[in-house]
């Protein structure tokens, strides 16, 4: 995984609550067997009409946001299906940070496995950020979002932060506990399936 660097970009405001992963990547695109190339399917049914033309009323289709790396959106983002394809699509499209009042649990943990940073802030701050027209800076190291007018601090678990900053392979980290896992298995009373 690539290490997470400071991000500076304008925000893309997606003013919706309960955005589910079926909207982020519709099911017809889950049949691919690799992780790359999902960006073109991001919000497919919102971006394209039935003739596969871009819909002018969807925010991502406004060229102003083409280089935006930060999405600011509503409550319970990423709810529903566990599909990690949602994270792969957001990233492949160009997003590095998603800011919302809250995230669904599975989506939230999927983000960290891929170097996408989900930041939850109180609803008032999120609302204010959605209005921000100038570029903002997200500094993970210092846990600060810098806007043209203020600095906003955010919380993140220290282990998750380290994984992102160092771009660590978390499986390799876990395998350092091989002794503990083996010891657990020796004491486990749960029978094998087969």
């Amino acid at each position: 995984m690539k290490s997470f660097k400071k991000i500076k970009s304008i925000i893309t405001p997606l003013d919706k609550i309960n955005v589910d992963t079926d909207q982020i990547v519709p099911k017809q695109f889950l049949k691919l067997i690799h992780k790359s190339g999902f960006g073109k399917f991001l919000f497919y049914n919102w971006r394209y009409d039935e003739n596969e033309n871009l819909k002018s009323d969807f925010i991502l289709n406004d060229s102003k946001y083409d280089n935006s790396e930060i999405m600011v959106t509503g409550d319970n983002f990423g709810c529903g299906s566990s599909r990690e394809h949602a994270v792969w699509a957001l990233q492949d499209y160009g997003f590095s940070v998603i800011i919302a009042p809250s995230f669904a649990d599975i989506f939230f943990s999927n983000c960290f496995k891929n170097g996408l940073l989900p930041i939850s802030l109180n609803p008032k701050t999120v609302e204010k950020l959605q209005q921000e027209l100038d570029p903002i800076e997200v500094d993970l190291e210092r846990q600060i979002i810098k806007t043209s007018s203020e600095e906003i601090t955010f919380e993140i678990d220290s282990y998750k932060k380290k994984i992102l900053l160092d771009g660590l392979d978390d499986i390799a980290q876990t395998l350092q506990f091989e002794d503990k896992i083996s010891e657990f298995e020796r004491n486990s009373k749960v029978p094998s399936v087969l």
Binding site: K16, I33, C79, L175
Partner: protein, 471 residues
């Protein structure tokens, strides 16, 4: 202080515990399917890693398998590749696979319990959010992403933040348990607590309204825990649980001694504390019908479509969401639910495609014909369910009523196979999600119980199934 059932299972699976951070939790059972696993196996190959415990890992194909004639080749090439990829991955890494021709094939959350793979007090994960289903057995079971699938394949563990325990008490007794079902109970719960009401928690369902339920009904409840945003749902195992799992194909040999331990250990202490609590009384609840684009947008069959103002109770974001939902669903406030006409009926999915679901729905259908404006299908949850249903003649009841009788799979719950709605079509569905486009781009989904879906198929619109004789 006492402990909740969830806390007891959690603590008995800690491999590494850190101060103020996630714990490394051992996973006893890992279920795999074709859609969320290929990238995980890719990762193993790239890093030259092995599957740590193939003996704790079981695979099947369910999400994109066709449900029509199984002797024909799969026409959709990308689906075919995904299925072949799972076959190759299971072969290369030594994992037991119930493939498309296996009598044990089916939706992963239907076959786990049916085969005795799901056990009380254990941890189960699967790259599918409805893994919460297995919680009906007192199992800590939750959905994970593909990176976590890779993590479990390699290490048989996961780093997890400890969720908070949430008690949902279901009191009372349904007056007509054939017409008001487990699906109506869980939809009522979600309608009340909202689709993020359970975020960051593991729900423990208790009370007479839960203990009265059969195992298959309890699975319907736990299945939809994720629709309330919870990580998992749990029910304390009892004699019904132990009876259900006895003598299944993969029930452990030392089952009775395991049962003795479970009886002693797997319960919430009287003085345990929950972070959150909610109580629902079901004495008078009605059959439920969803009207919007998330499962919280649900009302009684006797009600009319609410206005966005009524629904949102002053929350501007919720109001906007409801307006958008009504627009997508092509519905107006004030329309009685029973006036809504439907084009399609889907009886299937990991929520409601077990034998009991089909038996109950067949009572509505028996001797009737579906409305000429409706196309209806039954997709059994597993090939075992299909066979059991055929052994007691349910297939004939459905086929005589002009239902399509299909092979097992996830089918139109998520429309990854050819079973999809056309744009604008309206469906009474026993599945779990009414998200935009879930059952097909532009399709409109109303979530209901199997008996409500069956009744809607006959009448061509929603009806209050309590008015029918189902005994």
């Amino acid at each position: 202080m006492g402990k909740t059932l969830f806390e007891k299972i959690w603590e008995s699976h800690i491999v590494v515990e850190k101060q103020n951070g996630p714990s490394l939790i051992y996973i006893d059972r890992h279920l795999i399917h074709e859609v969320t696993s290929p990238q995980a196996f890719d990762g193993l190959r790239m890093n030259k890693r092995k599957v740590r415990r193939p003996d704790l890992t079981i695979a099947t194909m369910d999400h994109n398998v066709p449900t029509n004639n199984r002797s024909l080749p799969i026409l959709d090439q990308t689906s075919a590749v995904q299925i072949q990829t799972l076959e190759k991955n299971c072969k290369d890494f030594g994992i037991k696979l119930f493939d498309i021709n296996s009598p044990n094939q089916g939706i992963v959350h239907v076959i786990g319990p049916q085969l005795g793979i799901t056990l009380p007090g254990t941890t189960i994960v699967c790259g599918d959010s409805h893994t919460s289903t297995h919680g009906a057995f007192g199992t800590l079971a939750f959905g994970i992403g593909t990176s976590e699938v890779e993590h479990v394949l390699t290490s048989q563990t996961l780093w997890l933040e400890k969720p908070k325990p949430f008690e949902i008490r279901v009191d009372g007794k349904r007056k007509n348990p054939h017409a008001v079902t487990a699906k109506d109970i869980v939809l009522s719960i979600i309608k009340n607590i909202g689709t993020s009401g359970g975020a960051g928690t593991v729900i423990e369902y208790c009370g007479q309204g839960i203990t009265d339920l059969s195992m298959e009904q309890r699975m319907t409840i736990c299945n939809m825990s994720i629709e309330a945003g919870a990580r998992a749902g749990l029910i304390t195992p009892d004699e019904k649980t132990f009876d259900y799992l006895r003598n299944r194909e993969y029930t452990p040999k030392n089952y009775e001694s395991l049962v003795d331990n479970w009886k002693e250990q797997l319960k919430t202490d009287n003085d345990a504390k929950f972070e959150k609590q909610f109580t629902l009384n079901i004495d008078d609840i009605a059959p439920q019908v969803s009207w919007g684009t998330n499962p919280g947008m649900t009302c009684d069959v006797t009600e009319s479509i609410p206005s966005p103002e009524e629904f949102s109770k002053g929350d501007a974001n919720q109001k906007k969401g409801a307006e958008k939902a009504l627009d997508y669903m092509d519905l107006k406030p004030g329309i009685p639910i029973t006036d809504i006409k439907i084009d399609r009926v889907f009886i299937g999915s990991c929520t409601n495609a077990r034998l009991e679901d089909l038996i109950e729905a067949s009572k509505v259908v028996k001797g009737q014909k579906i409305s000429t404006n409706v196309r209806a299908m039954v997709v059994p949850g597993s090939q075992m369910v299909k066979k059991q249903a055929e052994d007691i003649g349910l297939d004939k009841i459905f086929i005589n009523a002009n239902f399509e009788w299909r092979e097992a799979g996830c089918s139109m719950c998520l429309g990854m196979n050819p079973d999809i709605l056309s744009p604008g079509e309206r469906c009474a569905s026993t599945s779990n999600r009414n998200f935009e486009g879930r059952q097909g781009t532009g399709g409109r989904t109303h979530l209901v119980s199997p008996v409500m879906a069956a009744a809607a198929a006959i009448e061509g619109h929603f009806v209050d199934v309590r008015e029918m004789d189902l005994s």
